[in-house]
């Protein structure tokens, strides 16, 4: 492993993540500069990198000090007039709201996401999973990300919102544009010779946001005219303490759900399979006793940490681990790092499907704890149950291709091979 000095580590260089080198950088930061100032650049403001478990716990649990309203990614332009696709919806989406507004909206929308609501979906999720697997069953090889991992979460979230099947590929494409805007593969609105630049990323993100918003507006109009048995119709009619949700609230919530609900879980599934393939003994242990799966899923989530960071802005002068943080400064919580902090996990670099306790923070914690955690856990469990039942010898058939992103721990392509079903 190369030794970097903390001052040389710039986590906004998203090629670090594409090359799979982030863990080495995080280890250095945890050890030498757990609260690390990155001065930013000409256009981007600076921020604090937070890499230790206890500190992320502290930040997450104090939304009155650490605000989400100015955006939850590391990027904030120095010029407030600059268009920032990463800042789309700031202050008006559930994930970028502070209490007390956040508390109220969360109570309004969380009914469909409670453990009971999630459990009721198991049969449906198993059915979708098997339909997805039917499509690869005879092939003997496939791109696990495109053919399997992305399909289940996409179907679950689009189904929940009542989107027609013909629109699902568009939702996949737009999610990639918004969340993977920095990756040349998704910069299809930009001429080929200009891809890979910061401007290409900005344009791609902006186009994705606009198109998604346009699409959701149409959906909302349709549901207002004709209620159906879906989440959008439910939101149109929901009321909390006498207040109805505004159109803007609904649109931004749908936007958030499509993004949050599909890319993350996709990477949990792909990252989980990759981890199992890279640890054959643990995988054999699981396949010999599938009752270990719920605990294995937690370890896959810890290991893969599909969301790489979330950010906050300090609302007052404060301190983290003795380091002064000034009002207005941005702090960035690095989940893959805290999930391998040896102060919180024994032998953190060992992939152990029976790890206990395993209090990972892959879903965050506190005020903004992932609303869809129950769905994500269920989707992972059902997927691996059905996958290993039908294709027990599924194996890697080439190297993974990682997403160029400091926000989502993504895998774009994962070639696999397996004995086809007859």
């Amino acid at each position: 492993m190369t030794q970097l000095s903390p001052v040389d580590i710039d986590l906004s260089d998203d090629s670090i993540f594409e090359r799979g080198e982030a863990h080495a950088a995080f280890a250095t930061l945890r050890r030498e500069a757990p609260v690390h100032w990155n001065p930013g650049g000409e256009r981007m403001k600076g921020w604090w990198d937070i890499t230790r478990f206890e500190d992320v716990l502290f930040v997450s649990r104090h939304p009155e000090i650490f605000s989400s309203e100015r955006g939850i990614t590391m990027f904030e332009p120095r010029d407030p007039n600059e268009v920032n696709p990463a800042g789309a919806g700031n202050g008006i989406m559930l994930i970028t709201m502070d209490p007390p507004k956040h508390v109220k909206l969360r109570r309004l929308v969380n009914k469909g996401f409670t453990p009971r609501a999630v459990n009721a979906m198991e049969g449906h999720i198993r059915q979708i999973t098997n339909q997805v697997l039917d499509d690869i069953a005879k092939k003997g090889s496939c791109d696990f990300v495109l053919d399997v991992a992305c399909q289940l979460p996409l179907a679950v979230i689009c189904g929940m919102m009542g989107l027609q099947k013909k629109d699902w590929p568009l939702m996949f494409e737009l999610t990639n544009k918004v969340l993977g805007s920095g990756d040349p593969e998704y910069q299809t609105d930009v001429p080929e010779d200009q891809r890979g630049t910061p401007d290409a990323a900005r344009i791609t993100g902006q186009m994705g946001v606009m198109q998604m918003f346009g699409f959701m507006s149409q959906q909302l109009e349709d549901r207002k005219a004709n209620r159906r048995d879906d989440l959008i119709s439910l939101l149109v009619d929901s009321e909390f303490e006498g207040d109805k949700l505004s159109d803007t609230d609904i649109l931004w919530f749908c936007f958030l759900l499509i993004l949050a609900g599909n890319e993350t879980t996709r990477n949990g599934i792909s990252g989980g399979l990759l981890a199992l393939c890279e640890h054959p003994e643990e995988r054999a242990r699981l396949q010999a006793d599938m009752s270990l799966l719920p605990s294995a899923v937690e370890e896959m989530l810890r290991w893969a940490s599909p969301v790489t960071h979330m950010a906050r802005v300090a609302l007052e002068d404060t301190e983290i681990r003795g380091q002064k943080i000034a009002k207005g400064e941005r702090v960035v919580m690095w989940y893959p790092s805290v999930n391998r902090d040896d102060a919180a996990f024994q032998e953190p670099n060992r992939f152990d499907i029976t790890r206990s306790p395993n209090d990972h923070l892959a879903f965050g914690i506190g005020e903004h704890f992932c609303l869809g955690a129950g769905f994500a856990r269920l989707e992972l469990r059902v997927m691996f149950e059905e996958l290993f039942r039908r294709f027990p010898d599924i194996r890697l058939d080439g190297p993974p291709e990682r997403l160029r992103s400091s926000f989502i721990g993504g895998i774009k392509h994962l070639p696999v091979a397996f004995t086809p079903e007859r």
Partner: protein, 63 residues
């Protein structure tokens, strides 16, 4: 000690019940505290529940 669950924040994730089954019971997506007061001997388990509750819904007060 007295233990309370903020019913507005709790979403039934049941981490509390796993950490301290003698103290918390989760039914219909909501946690209830089974004892009042909660014996001191259960403090470590309850503190673990406070730490793990994803929604910060649990508080311990004295008395």
């Amino acid at each position: 000690m007295k233990v309370t669950v903020n019913q507005d924040a709790c979403e039934g994730h049941a981490k509390c019940q796993a950490a301290a089954p003698e103290v918390f019971e989760v039914r219909d997506d909501l946690s209830t505290v089974l004892r009042d007061p909660v014996p001191e001997s259960l403090r470590p388990q309850v503190e673990r529940a406070v730490r793990l509750c994803p929604r910060q819904a649990i508080t311990i007060s004295e008395g």
